[in-house]
Structure formats: structure tokens, C-alpha cells
């Protein structure tokens, strides 16, 4: 078994709200989770159970209070994202770790096409090449062409969400954190995003994502980690996954070695179950 790409141990986030008399709010506590190289782990649970906070601690938008989130970089070095210095985190964000927030926060007065092409151009390809790739992505995500030169702030929630997804995918990160990237989309646009995520994963991107729709979890994920009241209570293959071919996971943390081989079951287990399982991006 190869080492996980991301290994979370005892991760805890408490907010101390000084403006409310130092009130302490626990977002989540004692989370242990391994995300295997090339895997796709879904995060499920009710609102307020700590899923988004967990993603933000990994991306370092939040500072974890305790614990570690050890990430194995492209250079083979392990970095604890909970403690690494700011510069190291910025470097990883630029080159290796992507994040799709629930809501788009794009720079004002930048056309959608350049919002997406920007991070790619910063990564070293020319701006024109980056724009070409951005156009391909936007076509795939079915964003109407007449919007490409407009400012995303004027877009609907679903349109903004697709810009957000495209911006994260264009750099082909090694690890992609997704916070409900399909929540504002209708079925057809959801399908487009799901297909693109599957392709991106087949291209080598490891993913950890919050989804509310169990059907999407079923299509995309090898394992679903469920959070309740700030604790990770369960890690297992998605509901409906074929238990005959997939060894069942223990209910408790940490997540088992079986997750590392999750990809081999992808597609087959969910075949015909949902409309998203278009087999175009399959590798198996």
C-alpha cells in the first residue's frame, strides 16, 4: 500500500470568539482520515457538522487548533498543512492544491474567461494558451458563450459555480478540495460537472469533496466519510456500492487500506444507476 496523499490525524478546530466574551465554538474535533493517492473521498453530514470547516483547515483558510494534516508533496516531502509556514502553503496552493469554495469569490472587473485562465497563466503557460484551455472547460461546463467576456459577479449562482469549478480544474491540481460544487446546478449542469470531475480524477487528481446528493457521492466517491456534530463517525463505500466486489470498510476511523484500491471499482459498481455514469471518462 502506498502512503496516502493526505493523512489527517487528530485534527480539531475550535473558534475562540473574543468579541463574544471568548466564547468557544467547536467546528470539529479529533478527525482522522486518510485520502489515498488517486482516491476520491466524499464528505457527508448535515449542515453544521463540520465538513466545510474541515476542508478550510486543510486549505489553511482556517488555522487548525490541534492535530495534523500531512500532505505528501510532488517533491516527496511531507508538509503538515496545519502548521506549515504561510509561504509554503501559498506555494502549494499555486502548484498542487486546489479548492472550490461554495461561493465564487473572483476579483472584480475581470471577465469570466480570465478568471479561469488567470491561475493557469500564473502557472507558466502563455495567456493565450490558458484562455484556449479555459474556453474548452467552459464549453464542457455548458456556460453560454455570450457570458465568457462578462464579469462573473453578474452571473446566476449556477453560472458562478461553474466558473469556480473551471478555475480550480484548469491547473490540474494534485489534490482538489471541493465544497458542494454542484449545489446550485440543475441536473444537466450537475452531470457536466460530475463528468469533468471524473475525467480530472482519471488524469491523476486526488479529491476530497462535500456533496449533499447521495447519488453524486455514489457516482464519484470510493468512500464516504460522514460527519456528525463535529466528529467523523463513519467511513464506508457509498450507499448502493456493490458490497460483493468491494471489501466493506470498518465503520470507525481511520479509513482502511481498501480505499487505496477504490478506483478499480469505479464505474462498474454504479453502472446504470444514475444518469451521470456516462462511461466516456472511464479508465478501468
Amino acid at each position: 500500500m502506498t502512503a496516502p496523499l493526505l493523512s489527517i490525524r487528530g485534527l480539531t478546530k475550535r473558534f475562540t470568539l473574543h468579541i463574544l466574551g471568548a466564547k468557544v465554538v467547536v467546528a470539529f474535533r479529533d478527525v482522522d482520515l486518510d485520502v489515498p493517492v488517486g482516491g476520491f473521498i466524499g464528505l457527508a453530514g448535515t449542515s453544521g457538522s463540520g465538513k466545510s470547516s474541515l476542508l478550510k483547515c486543510i486549505y489553511r483558510t482556517y488555522l487548525a487548533t490541534e492535530g495534523a494534516a500531512r500532505y505528501v508533496g510532488d517533491d516527496g516531502e511531507t508538509v503538515d498543512l496545519a502548521r506549515a509556514d504561510d509561504r509554503a502553503v501559498l506555494r502549494l496552493r499555486r502548484r498542487e492544491i486546489g479548492y472550490v469554495a461554495q461561493f465564487l469569490r473572483a476579483s472584480p472587473r475581470v471577465p469570466a474567461l480570465d478568471v479561469i485562465a488567470g491561475p493557469r497563466a500564473d502557472g507558466g503557460v502563455g495567456l493565450e494558451q490558458a484562455r484556449t484551455e479555459a474556453r474548452e472547460l467552459l464549453d464542457r461546463l455548458r456556460l453560454p458563450r455570450e457570458l465568457w467576456d462578462s464579469y462573473p459577479i453578474l452571473f446566476s449562482g449556477g453560472e458562478q459555480q461553474r466558473v469556480n469549478v473551471a478555475r480550480a480544474l484548469i491547473t490540474r491540481p494534485r489534490l482538489l478540495l471541493l465544497d458542494e460544487p454542484t449545489s446550485a446546478l440543475d441536473a444537466e449542469n450537475q452531470a457536466a460537472v460530475v463528468a469533468l470531475l471524473r475525467e480530472t480524477r482519471a488524469g491523476g487528481t486526488t479529491m476530497l469533496g462535500v456533496f449533499h446528493d447521495p447519488r453524486i457521492l455514489g457516482v464519484l466517491c470510493d468512500h464516504v466519510a460522514t460527519m456528525r456534530d463535529g466528529r467523523l463517525v463513519d467511513v464506508r463505500p457509498p450507499v448502493g456500492a456493490d458490497q460483493r466486489v468491494r471489501p466493506s470498510a470498518p465503520r470507525a476511523r481511520p479509513i482502511p487500506a481498501a480505499a487505496a484500491e477504490g478506483r478499480t471499482h469505479e464505474g462498474r459498481t454504479h453502472e446504470g444507476r444514475t444518469r451521470w455514469s456516462a462511461p466516456t471518462g472511464e479508465t478501468a
Binding site: 489553511r60 483558510t61 488555522l63 509561504r87 476579483s107 472584480p108 472587473r109 500564473d122
Partner: protein, 280 residues
């Protein structure tokens, strides 16, 4: 792993106005809730300020008026002589020379060639009684540019980059709008191609639509060049837009430093929490 050397290293920077009794620093700051020394009445504009800036990055500094953020910039641009600390610039004497212990000629070189400064008030950065082009020429002449044709070419280049119409090059900035004065000031700061540019409240006092133009200009410059910037602002929107890392100052001290999104979404220090909750 590549160890990157910072462009600017600041250590223990302090500036005390007044007699300084020796206990000023310990008796002031965020915990004391004041920057006036109760023993001797000196004002501690800033103390124990330390940070690094790397090539190509923008560091934000936020805080209210009187927090010491402008003092830090003015010390770095050698407008003020600090009372404590040291600062090293990678492009100056191979990073070995303390900026605060320099002679006149070195100061001219630092201010004219190695560091650029954009003040809140264009009057502080520009001579309003000489033309826009003349302002840029003045900066280049100070660092021994001699050929008029080259000076003029460089001035046009930077005015064009900052979208100042070239037919206004020979006009006095006194007759320009605030936004255009600010753009001339930016072209002046950049014309000698310094590795480090300090920007002090560059949009404060401008109309919102004009602010947008100036901010977009700075963002384009960030993308196009490898220049490092320190952006001081009380406006968290400006910081969010421009800075990758941010420091929060209060009563002359750095109370928090981190990634900009972390400082804004998960501020740790009571004052940072207060600051963020005041606007969002």
C-alpha cells in the same frame, strides 16, 4: 526543497517619539491599550516589528489610524529614522547592509532606484509644480540617468503603462484629477524599476470608481512584473484584492500575521476579530 531568500528582512523595527524612558515598549501596546508611555509620555509609533517580503509577493498591512502601519513604511523608505531595529534588502549590498545605517549616497540610491514609494497623498510623492514627465525624470536623474531621450522614453513607457494619456505628459499634475495624480505617482515609483514598492493607503480619498481603476492598475503590475509590494491600508477589500499574506497592526505592534484569507476568515487575535467583524 529550494530555500528562497527574502527580498526584504525587517527585524525589531521601532520608532519612539519623545524622550524614551527605557520602559516605553513594555508599558505600551495592544495589552496596555495605548501607545503612549505612562512613565515618560513618549509615543511608541511602532515596536518589535519584524517580517519578511519575498520577490513577486504582496504583503498587506492593516490596522486603524495610529496603529503604526504608515510609520513602518516611512522608516523603510527612510523618510523617518527608526529608534530601533534593522532592515536588509537583497538588492542592497548583497543583503548585508542595514538600511537604517546608511550614508547619504546610499540613501539616494535606495530611495531612487531600489525602493519605490506611493504615498496616500500625491502631494507627498510628486512635485505638483513640475510636469508629469518631469516628475519621472527627476527620479531618474537622481539615480544618474543622463540621456534626455532615454529618460523621456522611460517616462512615456511608464505613463502609458499606468494609463496616463501621453498628451498630458508635459502638463502639471496640479491640474490632474486625484486618480490621475495617483497613477502618475505610481509610474514615478516604478520608473526606476525597483524590486520593492511600498504603497500607503493608495486608494484612500479617491472616488469608488477611481479606486477601482487604481487597484486594477496595481493588479496588472503585480502580474506583469516580479516586483514585491507592501500595501498598507485600512480597507480590508483592498488587502483581500492585492495581498497574499497580511499582518494586522494595533498600537504599534503586529498582533497577527497569516495568509490573507485566513486572517480575514479565521482571525485569531481579539483585535483582528473586531476589525473583520466591523466590516463584514
Amino acid at each position: 526543497m529550494v530555500i528562497e531568500r527574502p527580498l526584504l528582512r525587517v527585524r525589531g523595527l521601532g520608532k519612539i517619539h519623545g524622550p524614551a524612558c527605557g520602559r516605553c515598549v513594555e508599558l505600551t501596546g495592544p495589552e496596555a491599550g495605548t501607545n503612549r508611555c505612562p512613565m515618560c509620555g513618549s509615543v511608541v509609533a511602532c515596536a518589535d516589528v519584524g517580517f519578511e517580503v519575498y520577490r513577486g509577493e504582496t504583503l498587506g498591512v492593516v490596522g486603524e489610524s495610529g496603529s503604526g502601519k504608515s510609520t513602518v513604511l516611512q522608516c523603510l523608505y527612510l523618510d523617518q529614522q527608526p529608534t530601533a531595529g534593522s532592515a536588509y534588502l537583497g538588492t542592497f549590498r548583497d543583503g548585508d547592509g542595514d538600511l537604517f545605517r546608511t550614508g547619504l549616497a546610499e540613501r539616494r540610491d535606495l530611495r531612487g532606484r531600489l525602493i519605490g514609494m506611493v504615498y496616500q497623498n500625491p502631494r507627498d510623492g510628486l512635485n505638483l509644480q513640475i510636469s508629469a514627465g518631469g516628475n519621472i525624470a527627476e527620479r531618474l536623474l537622481a539615480v544618474r540617468w543622463r540621456r534626455v531621450d532615454r529618460i523621456r522614453a522611460r517616462a512615456s513607457e511608464y505613463l502609458e503603462q499606468t494609463e496616463v494619456p501621453l498628451d498630458r505628459m508635459d502638463d502639471l499634475p496640479a491640474r490632474f484629477s486625484g486618480g490621475m495624480q495617483q497613477r502618475v505617482q505610481i509610474s514615478k515609483a516604478l520608473a526606476s524599476e525597483p524590486g520593492l514598492v511600498l504603497l500607503d493607503e493608495l486608494t484612500t480619498g479617491l472616488d469608488v470608481s477611481v479606486q477601482a481603476g487604481v487597484l486594477d492598475l496595481v493588479r496588472r503590475l503585480q502580474r506583469r512584473s516580479n516586483v514585491a509590494m507592501v500595501v498598507v491600508s485600512h480597507d480590508l477589500g483592498v488587502i483581500r484584492l492585492l495581498a497574499g499574506r497580511t499582518m494586522v497592526m494595533k498600537h504599534g505592534r503586529i498582533v497577527e500575521a497569516g495568509l490573507t484569507d485566513q486572517v480575514l476568515e479565521d482571525p485569531q487575535h481579539p483585535y483582528s476579530q473586531f476589525l473583520v467583524s466591523s466590516v463584514t
